[in-house]
Structure formats: structure tokens, C-alpha cells
Amino acid sequence: DAGVTQSPTHLIKTRGQQVTLRCSPKSGHDTVSWYQQALGQGPQFIFQYYEEEERQRGNFPDRFSGHQFPNYSSELNVNALLLGDSALYLCASSLDRRGGGGMGYTFGSGTRLTVV
């Protein structure tokens, strides 16, 4: 049973560029959440997608946007990259039919983004 897969594993971008990160949820999961983890810190919630809609959003600027596809996979897009966007981006999936959490998440291994 495949877990959460993220691509690419690493990438380097130049300040001002745009980047797209991809996530395939664990089989049977229908909700995808994205987190940003700066070096030496805990993950910070970016947003969550359920039924192809953004259901909740953390304190991130509009430069961060996302999408969920009918097969539940998801993309995270970041425009006008800043040096401060350098971080590990984690995708987490869950089964969330009741509209609430509690069962925890399954995380991917993340995408390490470096902005130079």
C-alpha cells in the first residue's frame, strides 16, 4: 500500500521564480494538507484541500496557492519566490469524511526547496 508520495524530492529555484510541488495521497485518503517546515522549526500549516476545494488556510500570503484534482492528488504553487521560502514542504493526507480530524495524518517525505 503506497503511502504519500511527493515530487520532486529536491529543487533549487531563483528568487522571483515560480514553483509547483506535487503530492499523491495515501490510497483511500481524500484530504490533502500542506505544511512548510523551515530549518530547525516545526511544520507550519499552509492550507488543506477536500473535494477539490480549499477548506482551511493558515497564515500564508496569496503567493501560495494550491489545487486538488478529482483523483485527490494535489499541487502547491508558490509565485514570486523569496529567499525566506526556502524550506521543506510536507504533504499530509487523511481520511476526513466527517469534516473533522482526529485520526491523524500520513505524511510524505517532503520536497526540499532552496531559493537562491
Binding site: S33, Q56, G99, G101, G102, Y105, S109, G110
Partner: protein, 117 residues
């Protein structure tokens, strides 16, 4: 807003011994969940143990157990018979219960645990 605090940036323990990691949180919610996650160098966040706030009984998973003190808003993790493979960053996390608008995890800053042979 919820906050999660881990006051121990680093800890070490000898193999086979017991270690306790501390976590405190602040919330006005009455229904919520608490988690401990482990993040090894592979970067994947792995769920170690989960506690439902309305359950008074402390959760246990093999060598891992928690001490959940709801009134004190404390949620510590005890690792018994520590193994070299337990070396990792450990994160305490909070989640509101039964939100209709979606759920999110709020993480602490983490505790780096090193198990020494």
C-alpha cells in the same frame, strides 16, 4: 489560537533506558486531539501516539506512553527501553476536534532526541 510548546530543544539517553519528552499547550477548546510525531533524517513525519482529550486514560503504544494532564495542559511522551532507531526529532502536535471547516495540526518546535549506545 492554539499554541504548543516544547521546552527541551535537545535530549539524550542511553540505549535501553527511559526518557521523557515534555510538551505543554494552550487552548480554549474542550474537544481536541494531541499527537506525538517522530521525524528521522528521512524527513517523513511518523505518528508515534495519539490521545483524545475526552479520554482520561493515557494512550500507550508498545514502548511509548503519554502522561496527559488535561487541567495542566501537559502532554509528555515517555519512551521506555530506548533503541538506537528512536534517534529523531520529536514533535508534539494539537488538533481541534470535529471542525466542520477542516482540521489542521499545530506543531511545537521539536525536541531532538539522541539515543547513545
Amino acid at each position: 489560537a492554539q499554541t504548543v510548546t516544547q521546552s527541551q530543544p535537545e535530549m539524550s539517553v542511553q540505549e535501553a533506558e527511559t526518557v521523557t519528552l515534555s510538551c505543554t499547550y494552550d487552548t480554549s477548546e474542550s474537544n481536541y486531539y494531541l499527537f506525538w510525531y517522530k521525524q528521522p533524517p528521512s524527513r517523513q513525519m511518523i505518528l508515534v501516539i495519539r490521545q483524545e482529550a475526552y479520554k482520561q486514560q493515557n494512550a500507550t503504544e508498545n514502548r511509548f506512553s503519554v502522561n496527559f494532564q488535561k487541567a495542566a495542559k501537559s502532554f509528555s511522551l515517555k519512551i521506555s527501553d530506548s533503541q538506537l532507531g528512536d534517534t529523531a526529532m520529536y514533535f508534539c502536535a494539537f488538533m481541534k476536534g470535529r471542525e466542520t471547516s477542516g482540521s489542521r495540526l499545530t506543531f511545537g518546535e521539536g525536541t531532538q532526541l539522541t539515543v547513545n549506545p
